[in-house]
Symmetry: C2
Subunit: 433 residues, 2 copies
């Protein structure tokens, strides 16, 4: 994309007529009121495809401000319009890996209003890489063409210090995929560096109460790295996504019990988003009854249930040829909704959160998936009335040990000294990249 | 997938205990009450991946009944439950090309309730091909894992006579992509045969008032072929999707006028979903005013506006590397919503429909995109108060001529004699396959 930039100082009333008179008419133009108070403005125009002579990005500064995109660069006063007067204040939602497949589902869900409700306007701040910036423009174009009334701002960029500015939600999906033969330790290091950087950026520029959901793997330890690098943001605001595991566990319990999945509740995923994770059938309920009173097949519960839940992603890739972008994005929506709507009575949800203050005897200072409830204000509390038996406790100990080992691997990224990495075998979930 | 089938005649109360006792516990099992009145049942079990010894599908009859999938095979009484008692009667929605990217967005939107509302349970009937049946299982798995409360049945199959059974909506997305060097005439013939077959199937087994939206290209003439092969279904129930074009046109008018897209109304796409289509700026309004009173750039309106709308898909592919699945699925949602919710006063929507009885002087007996309104009952009426000028009329004549020529190309598929094909140059929209 060849960029032409003009630094102008027009008055507000002149801008529209200026735009219609002088901008190149072939190609895509964006008007970006970067400095609203001073009436400075930047107009960025990309020439039409057949006029492009230079390779993409060569003329761009890789550390520019995130650009607003197309129709989303407009300013307007929601309070001045009859239809939008009762709307809440616009919220900023930052999404990393925004050009990827999970985001391609998620962004349209966020924009449609199904996550934050029909009177909550949103701004999407999309973080990509130099490699994906053109793809991000494509995503922004599709968001334009979707005419979502609640989607009022879209900006794209490659610098987290710009994109995360004032973010009230940060959905961190982007991560490097594991290359062939790469060990979990190497992946921890590569992605850990990304999440250290993004934690620093959140610490510097995001809302002081930003809620962060880490999806990029290994998500628990990435979330730990991220929160350690963001000391000015409450550690409890950082989540690692284990909701897809919870959803899959619910579905398998329903299938086994011969009931619809809406009858399954109180399912906890304990621990790491890896093969050491513990889908908890001791506390789970079916139609209000303990699972063991409904599914009287202890062998299935102890052996096949967990395996089936964990193999789900691998089977899906085998069948569909792609990883589970659609259902992952649904589970991200579920995770957000669980924090912004009150948890139904007698139920809870799983989320990987910072362990300090947990009532379950889990080691402190790691990110561990545990049962939580929310009153809908974005915060959560640990559930008190869970029970343990030797089998459950033993498995929780194993996933806890793994997370403690992962933490030692990334000590150089959490400011805790020199990394010492001694991980057990490969515990990546099948079907995850 | 190696299938093991058992034909059983248990009583209803025995089924669940039978299932939990005797089904292979490795792998995926579905219980399919195919003949509910006679209490015959079929149980299909796929063995676990590591047990699969034979290539997929070799043991399957390609014309079997569509199989319900997993947890969606359960039966239950929505009227018996507190939470679901007030729900409407379940509706059957058939989707072809269900393993493709557009469907991968659309199915999750349908299942989430954002299309038909929060008290409308739905059944999804997914039509694939022999090649895509495994992928369809993957889609069904992801739908299971998403735990949508309103999604009560999912079945998959490759025979439209089975999948379209009792369909109240048929969203026909699947079509053969155009191969390299393939002429529009050849594509018309290849895809026309698919839509002739699907029309016959709808005629034989779908709801007598099924609403059909054809997305697969060339969608206008495919819709014509489809309706001609379904004489027992009202021709007015068949639609060709031009809503993405309308949405794109709205966005471009908004961008040019410097207003948010919710200010643009009364946009019509006339004619064919091809490069002869006519985005109508004569009747369109911005903030209630005629577009020409707001955008005083006649050259842009007459030359660049249409071109920009039509090139959008091509630019998107160039940027994102894929075709516009997400925004296409949003436009399908918009198209359905426009038929099931009352059209806002002083507005209308575009849809490609059968021309008989149209008030615009368009030739009868073709499928032509025109401005319509609905009272929300699934039906629609033509808008009366549109104006024409020579420029608009001339361009409408051109797209009309193209559709009449396309109709002659497919006479062998509409029961109207021998095809005579004399099409102008390539009028496929850029970025469409």
């Amino acid at each position: 994309m060849a960029m032409a930039e003009l630094n102008l100082k027009p008055t507000k009333t002149h801008l529209h007529s200026f735009l219609s008179r002088t901008l190149p008419t072939h190609g895509h133009c964006t008007f970006s009121p970067l400095h609203r108070t001073t009436q400075h403005a930047r107009i960025s125009c990309s020439v039409a495809p057949n006029q492009v002579q230079v390779p993409a990005l060569q003329t761009q500064d890789p550390k520019t401000k995130p650009d607003c995109y197309g129709v989303f660069c407009l300013t307007y006063d929601l309070k001045a319009e009859e239809e939008t007067r009762s709307w809440k204040k616009l919220i900023n939602i930052a999404v990393s890996g925004a050009a990827g497949m999970i985001s391609n589902h998620l962004l349209f869900k966020l924009a449609s209003g199904e996550v934050f409700g029909p009177n909550q306007p949103i701004a999407l701040k999309l973080l990509g890489s130099e490699r994906s910036i053109q793809a991000l423009e494509g995503v922004a174009m599709e968001l334009e063409d979707s005419l979502f009334p609640l989607l009022r701002e879209v900006s794209i960029g490659i610098d987290p210090y710009e994109v995360f500015q004032d973010a009230e939600w940060a959905l961190l999906i982007g991560a490097k995929p594991r290359g062939p033969g790469m060990e979990r330790a190497a992946l921890l290091d590569i992605n850990g560096q990304i999440f250290a950087e993004q934690g620093k950026a959140l610490n510097a520029v995001a809302s002081r109460n930003v809620k962060v959901i880490v999806v990029g793997n290994p998500c628990n330890t990435n979330a730990l790295i991220c929160l350690k690098n963001a000391p000015n943001i409450p550690a409890r605001n950082f989540h690692a996504l284990t909701r897809l595991d919870e959803n899959r566990a619910k579905c398998q319990l329903a299938l086994k019990a011969g009931v619809f999945y809406d009858k399954v509740s109180n399912v906890t995923i304990w621990g790491n988003h890896s093969t050491t994770q513990v889908p908890d059938f001791l506390n789970a309920r079916i139609d209000g009854l303990p699972v063991k009173d409904v599914i009287k097949d202890q062998k299935w519960l102890e052996e096949e249930f967990t395996e089936t839940v964990q193999k789900r992603g691998g089977v899906l890739i085998q069948k569909w040829g792609r990883s589970s972008a659609a259902s992952t994005s649904v589970s991200i929506v579920d995770a957000i909704r669980s924090l912004v709507t009150p948890t139904p009575e007698d139920d809870w949800f799983s989320t990987g959160v910072y362990t300090n203050g947990n009532p379950y005897g889990i080691a402190e200072d790691i990110v561990f998936s545990m049962p939580c409830r929310s009153n809908g204000d974005g915060d959560y509390e640990f559930v008190k009335d869970v029970i343990f038996d030797d089998y459950l406790r033993q498995r929780i100990n194993k996933t806890e040990a793994e997370l403690l080992a992962e933490k030692k691997c990334v000590a150089h990224l959490t400011g805790e000294g020199i990394a010492v990495c001694d991980l057990p075998g490969d515990t990546m979930l099948p079907g995850e990249v």
